[in-house]
Amino acid sequence: MTARRALRLANKDNVATSLEDIESGAVVLVRLGKDSEEITAREEIPFGFKIAVTDVPREAPVIKYGEPIGVASQDIKKGQMVHVHNIAGARGRGDLNERE
């Protein structure tokens, strides 16, 4: 099977975006500019969704575009999908308002 493709956008990023549907167990070629590395998908990652390229511990920032896009709401393993089930936004969190 040829490697599936994913794209990292900045050096600091700990997630990559899949450029095609990725099956669980597939080898994923993660490109960053001219560099690339191979990782193994631990689960299915649909086209356009994110795959962790390093382990991300709970409460650690998730980085894409070289900037924080939120924090891990649980431990995330390299190769897992990263989405609303395991990251939380840090901005506009009216639900976290302190009760007066």
């Binding site: 356009g48 896009i69 989405h83 609303v84 936004g89 506009g92 009216g94």
Partner: protein
């Protein structure tokens, strides 16, 4: 593209601007305007429930500014202003005031006082005959070549998915860089969708004041969002964003700002506010299609762009048909699946960047070519349909 090729065929206007369309506009909306438009070819009006009645002065000012801006848009050859509107008694919306302000553009403006004409139906005869004269006169104007510097574009990114941030928006950004480089004007906005990326935009303000204003509008919007007591992720990113792979507002914002290219930001404008000069402007507006495009048109944009992700949409092939009242709406996408879903609704495809077959630069040049064609008269897909969605003006204050 050579500078000599970066021209479009537009309609010359008395103030030196160039229309890419040639409409007669009837303002404000309502029965009177609608019946004139039903009868007379080449006319336009705004369809909205925002008539100003029971609104604060700030909101009435926004409505007035939008109507005046639409009338002053280069795509409008001439304007009929009438008095039949529930908000007409307020100073900001007084029909004679709207007519006078629009007339500053030097174009032909007629004011019809419906009461003085003996009521709506008697006034309608005058309105129809005036509009007929106006479209006839407008049809005598010939398109002539104009430099790209005469063009103003507005952009919204919507139903964004992860192709938007990687390719769709960067290609729009490349177009904006080319436009600004050529001396044109570009508008982007959607204040909620810079939250998490505002620090990056602020660095691009032409001075400290602009930088602070960018941070301020983002902070104000986040503060209002928090007052709802809700996690903004349950509101925006919208469900189709999440279904398309976007996980948080910050991720959406960091992708969204790519549509602004890399030019310096000249200033922060309010909804419908005309810019004091050329270049790239941030508009403090709301992302909703029903609202944002009319605001850009009122600011002077002759063409507006909807950059669509669409990965989270469920197979709808007819995309939103809102025009910006007087400015055509064109659709772009970088998502190959979106193109397959809605091929007859899309005007431009930048997904060859995703497929690895084209660079952002190459796609940007092709997009500029498409924009110049549309500016010269080629219809957008939206323009082939008669239906125009109602406009919801961006009114920020409580109503009474």
């Amino acid at each position: 593209m050579k500078e000599s090729e970066m021209k479009f065929l537009g309609y010359p206007r008395p103030d030196g601007s160039a229309g890419i369309r040639n409409y007669v506009l009837v303002l404000p909306g309502g029965f009177f305007a609608a019946k004139i438009c039903d009868t007379v070819a080449g006319t336009r009006t705004i369809v909205t429930a925002d008539n100003g009645s029971g609104r604060t002065s700030a909101d009435r000012e926004t409505i007035g500014r939008t109507l005046i801006g639409l009338g002053s848009n280069p795509n409008v050859a001439s304007v009929i202003v009438h008095s039949q509107s529930p908000g007409a008694g307020y100073p900001e919306l007084k029909p004679s005031h709207l007519a006078e302000e629009i007339a500053r553009s030097g174009k032909w403006v007629e004011f019809i006082d419906n009461v003085q004409e003996g009521g709506t139906f008697r006034a309608l005869e005058k309105g129809i005959q005036t509009a007929r004269k106006m479209v006839l006169e407008a049809s005598r104007i010939r398109r002539q070549p104009f430099d790209l510097s005469r063009l103003a574009l507005g952009v919204k990114c919507g139903h964004s998915d992860t192709t938007s941030g990687i390719a769709g928006n960067p290609v729009i950004g490349n177009l904006f860089d080319r436009l600004v480089e050529a001396g044109g004007t570009a508008f982007f906005g959607e204040t909620t969708e810079i939250i998490g990326a505002e620090h990056i935009l602020a660095r691009r303000g032409i001075n400290q004041e602009v930088a602070e204003k960018i941070l301020q509008v983002a902070a104000d919007t986040e503060k209002m969002a928090k007052l709802t007591g809700e996690d903004i992720r349950t509101i925006n990113p919208v469900p189709s964003n999440i279904a398309g792979g976007i996980s948080t507002l910050e991720e959406k914002s960091l992708g969204a700002i790519h549509k602004a290219g890399s030019s310096p930001i000249q200033g922060v404008l309010s909804y419908g506010e005309r810019p004091p000069g050329k270049g790239l402007y941030f508009v403090d507006n709301w992302m909703n299609s029903a609202s944002i495009f009319a605001g850009y048109a009122a600011a002077g944009a002759q063409l507006v762009i909807f950059q669509l992700g669409g990965g989270g949409l469920s197979g709808e092939d007819l995309l939103y048909t809102s025009s910006a009242v007087v400015s055509p709406l064109m659709w772009t996408t970088a998502n190959p699946r979106t193109l397959a879903m809605a091929p007859t609704s899309l005007d431009f495809y930048s997904g060859r960047v995703i497929e690895g077959k084209e660079t952002i630069e190459e796609a940007g040049e092709k997009l500029l070519q498409t924009v110049l064609e549309i500016a010269s008269g080629t219809l957008t897909r939206v323009e082939t349909l008669r239906y125009i969605n109602p406009t919801q003006l961006y009114l920020r204050e409580p109503c009474f």
